[in-house]
Symmetry: C2
Subunit: 382 residues, 2 copies
């Protein structure tokens, strides 16, 4: 059900002819109210796509009535013509729904540096607006690019529902937000409450996913609240439930990362600060040699320590422990149990790094570096 699980939301999804495959490629999600509070977080990449530039303006007043998303083109580095396409798309949504274009969020995903065909976008919006209903599943399919399957998640709170959809399989290293994610809820919440909850949830979910170290120009996570349940939840409880939805979607993104054969969970403990733990986990997650070793089922902990050594985190190289899938292969910076005791054949790989200097922890999700990753990204054409 994804974005239409919560009351007060409808969605439409159509094949607008943007994707070469001819599949669904344009989704429209509408908040029917009674309330229209919204929050969003965006990529921290300084090279931002046109829909990001537009949506950052829209969200300024904490209100969004609809969000339109397309695959088949990122509309990034397409000049003023590209910005006009985004603007006209929002205008078309506003015209079809009788709302203001200033309350329409826009998201795009696909190849950078190619113009989107304006006529197809406008026709697609019209068709999507004519097919609004409980189409959360179809909407989650329309935003797919190289994704092999759609990503959806729903949680029930005390009298309210949170549902969401996500796309993303490559360029997965968000700075603040990530990929395209739309989450809806029928809870009654004010924009500033939504903003606080969304930032808290994304900080420990999407922001801890680093599949390939490559930050996108188009990442956007939007949260829309209709208030249709009539329930004003406790903000802590709501944030916890929202975090569960975000973590679930982040794990689905990790599990479908382009070409990956392992889902790697790097847990850093004993850090002096959470920032240190995140820096260490991210440095290991981005180390190509470590990632290639995991692809080959090789528990090469020396590459883990070499990656830690490039960080500014507090640690003593001779007081670090590393375990892989439960086997401590490195103790106090020296060999411990034999590498052969480690079985890396399962898709899930757990790496535990104990820095031994404090109590802070963080977990980073990543993937291995595979032949298929190289292949899929050397022939990108979606």
């Amino acid at each position: 059900m994804s974005v239409t699980a919560a009351r007060g939301f409808t969605a439409g999804a159509v094949a607008a002819g943007l994707k070469a495959s001819g599949g669904l490629d344009l989704a429209l999600v509408v908040n029917e109210g009674p309330e229209h509070a919204a929050a969003a977080v965006f990529t921290s990449n300084r090279a931002k796509a046109n829909p990001i530039i537009w949506s950052q303006q829209v969200i300024g007043d904490g209100r969004a009535d609809a969000i339109v998303l397309n695959s088949g083109g990122a509309n990034c580095f397409t000049g003023s013509e590209g910005f006009q396409v985004t603007h006209s798309t929002a205008e078309a949504v506003a015209s079809a729904l009788g709302i203001s274009a200033g309350d329409v969020l826009v998201c795009s995903t696909g190849l950078i540096g190619e113009q989107l065909p304006l006529d197809r976008m406008l026709a697609g919006v019209e068709a999507a607006a004519s097919s609004l209903g409980e189409n959360g599943v179809a909407a989650s399919e329309a935003i797919m690019t190289t994704d092999s399957k759609p990503k959806r998640s729903v949680r029930e709170g005390s009298g309210y529902v949170i549902g969401g959809m996500a796309k993303g399989a490559g360029m997965l290293a968000p700075g603040l937000a990530t990929m395209l994610v739309v989450i809806t809820t029928d809870a009654v919440l004010q924009p500033d409450q939504l903003d606080r909850a969304l930032r808290a949830a994304t900080r420990v979910s999407f922001d801890r996913l680093d599949s390939d170290g490559c930050m996108s120009t188009n990442d956007q996570v939007s949260l829309l609240a209709s208030g249709a349940s009539g329930i004003a939840p406790d903000l802590t409880e709501f944030t916890d439930a929202l975090t569960e939805v975000c973590r679930d979607l982040a794990e689905q993104l990790q599990g479908d990362a382009e070409g990956a054969s392992h889902d790697i969970r790097i847990e850093v403990v004993g850090a002096a600060s959470e920032d240190d733990a995140v820096e260490v986990g991210r440095s290991v997650a981005r180390n190509n040699l470590f990632k290639a070793a995991v692809f080959g089922n090789d528990p090469n902990w020396g590459r883990v320590l070499a990656a830690i050594g490039t960080t500014s985190a507090a640690f003593d190289p001779y007081n670090v422990d590393v375990s892989m899938n439960g086997v401590r292969v490195c103790h106090a910076g020296a060999p411990d149990r034999p590498r052969d005791d480690v079985d890396l054949t399962p898709r899930r790989v757990d790496v535990l790094i104990d820095l031994g200097v404090g109590d802070a922890t963080a977990t980073i999700l990543t993937n291995d570096l595979t032949h298929d990753y190289v292949h899929e990204n050397s022939a990108y054409s979606s």
Copy 2:
């Protein structure tokens, strides 16, 4: 001739049984004088191998009489037993040559986290010391790991010679120094002059090479001067010649990078500062999506701009030009000439990025991300 091209230097190389292949794996380079000035730069990785910890002490007084190098094991994260192996190796060299162990530099390369066999190291040192002569070529072969060929370079100055050797094919992203490099000269220079010249030369050569973003624990570049020519050169002239040797060796390292099918030269111009230019070049060089695209001969300039967007460099995304192999595919942040005009089939790829904000420039050397890179690094066993 490499390290024995300059007068006053001898070398020996033997198969000490450290490499599974049974090939040459231990090299000894001796400065016969009359002078023994030396300088060295080391990895900035905070996780340092035992030979790095040792050599940093040795170089403190600006004198080195010999340098012993082994492949077949990095002697990193091998605890106090590993440090003892390094220490004993230096002692063995000192004993064989009648010098002080405190004047013996040590370098190791190979797998991290495995002990080196002390008995074989000591026997190898003895054999190498017995075979000293003009064996610079054999020495350059003895330090190879996954290298497909040895790297050597020689330049003649005004009455003096600079010669060097290098090894390195993976984990190529030095922070200060890189890989194992030994350079000798018969010029008459003081330790502080050697240090200044070496830092100036490595800053614009090895420090601008970033093959795979992975910084080694064992990088060391050593420069030894025998004074045997009797010529005390102009330091600027010497530094220029030394820089040529370093650049030549760096390009040989790039050309032999594990699994690479393209040598990519990223030239950043129009930057506000040299630091900005280096940061931008390095960010592009480390972007796996860009590197995989080059492997597939795809001039995907959007991935270049997305990588620039993650830096802190001064730039306006809508005032950046990108050319590939002479074809400007992006002008002012929008599509320019067609991608199809770019021919990326040659091994050499030139990427020119004009940030359009200043006069500073820098060039970073890197490689593409290939199936062979993944394969070789998932089955590392040298």
